[in-house]
Symmetry: C2
Subunit: 288 residues, 2 copies
């Protein structure tokens, strides 16, 4: 997937502190030499693209334990930057402390509440450690490194340990190893021009689209028939409320296929015929 980047390194926005899992995803997609723009909130990530402060962005879209990141589904429609690539990252939680702090010294463990909750087996085996909620996973390691606490550790990615010069005391302390997050790489038109996707880099492609149906019986079924009748494999469907129309929905669909293939073109024309609204969100090589 690193083949999609040529020339000078792009500036990639993501939510969270340096060392967030989104940065790990960005490195996986674009190589370790990218420049990064950490943002406090998801909306700031999309704004940084809109205002031209970043040339690309990496955002999480779903997690195999927590489900979809609905806020980002909404932003995809509002901000309308095409999806350029996808990847998934296994969420490996590591116990990380400033250099010199030993495992036996750790009494408090800082991290995002979701990460703390995903390491309950570890905390059951180490009752001397107190779980302390913090706003961010990588941010907890940053704070420990700055404050030089000697009785505390954080839970974050291996990239966070590397960035803040801290040490991994225990690797992979998450209870459920089937914990993956899927990320999208979004692009500005200028980024797309400078870094074209190589058409032959990957034989399998995916297309993402969003549509709303007329509120009639069987409307969703008929829309999905556009894919089923052409043997296009749906890999994800997500619904979100339609603003201003209570109990009506936007449907987000991912399927395997290239937007320029004849059967996909026909399927999209078919959905358009049935839908009140339809937009292709992107066509990108299927991630590993």
């Amino acid at each position: 997937m690193t083949a999609i980047i040529r020339g000078s390194q792009p500036l990639i926005a993501f939510q969270g502190e340096r060392g967030a899992f989104s940065e790990e995803a960005a490195r996986k997609l674009l190589g370790a030499r990218i420049q990064v723009l950490p943002c406090p909130r998801f909306e700031d990530v999309f704004r940084s693209l809109k205002e031209g402060r970043a040339s690309g962005a990496v955002v999480p879209i779903e997690n195999t334990l927590a489900g979809s990141v609905h806020e980002n589904y909404d932003h995809l429609v509002t901000y309308n930057f095409p999806i350029m690539a996808e990847t998934s990252v296994r969420i490996v939680h590591n116990l990380i402390a400033p250099k010199g702090v030993k495992f036996s010294q750790v009494r408090r463990v800082f991290s995002h509440p979701v990460a703390l909750n995903q390491c309950l087996d570890f905390f059951a085996a180490n009752p001397q450690m107190e779980r302390t909620p913090f706003y961010d996973t990588a941010g907890s390691v940053k704070m420990l490194a700055e404050e030089r606490l000697t009785d505390a550790a954080g839970i974050a990615s291996a990239v966070a340990a590397e960035i803040y010069g801290a040490r991994i005391l225990r690797r992979s302390i998450e209870s459920d190893r089937q914990n993956f997050t899927r990320f999208f790489l979004l692009r500005t038109p200028a980024f797309a021009r400078r870094h074209p996707i190589r058409a032959d880099a990957n034989p399998l492609w995916k297309t993402s689209l969003v549509f709303s149906t007329r509120n009639t019986p069987g409307a969703l079924f008929r829309a999905l028939s556009a894919f089923a009748l052409r043997d296009l494999n749906l890999t994800k469907i997500e619904s979100r409320p339609l603003r201003g129309k209570p109990w009506e929905y936007l449907f987000y669909v991912d399927f395997q296929g290239r937007v320029d293939a004849p059967n996909v073109r026909n399927a999209l024309r078919h959905v358009e015929e049935l839908a009140d609204f339809m937009r292709v969100l992107g066509c990108y090589p299927k991630g590993a």
Copy 2:
């Protein structure tokens, strides 16, 4: 809908402090004389049913602005209490202060961050008021009443003002009036026996079910055909990740129809034939 309750008043669990929108939904479903059990978290609500501390529970399942309450979708499967009724409540945010506090005195406004964000037009028109995040909408009114603050107000339901003996300074300050939350009433078997649903109380019924498909192309489409081929109108579809099977999903479907009608029985048998797993979550009169 109050017709579904007969005899002594049930004890109904819900998430939040007294005066939460869930209590408003419970009153709408069961009348104002119910006894209530406020719980800190959604999981506590389901546990209170399991442990027999409550005879029923009212939980939010979706909101027309924020979308589905995914945690409760997950609990529906885990705890397996049948859905007995549904209702929807328009989310009306009121500015509420302890008696004696005037609108002109208010400098700080406490509420849940979601409620604060749904009143941005009001705050734009009243820049002298500072938004102060609090853990709960009704809880903010409870706190103000207890602390007797004279420069502060909360944002919560009219029921919260009534319960805590506070005064509504401004009604309906939400920016978007198309803000509805749909709630489910869940029942224990004992509650169901004592308070049977009257079959003829409402001519329209809905059925909710959950299923997972085999991970093959067209599987969801074929499952939905079970409804479409019998002209059963789907009103909601929701997907949630399947634990232990990355990138596979549970689908939650609501449709119009009674579980004992012949076409619904046939549709359910058809879904069962196609699905890896299927369970009916409830059959209940369609809410207003």
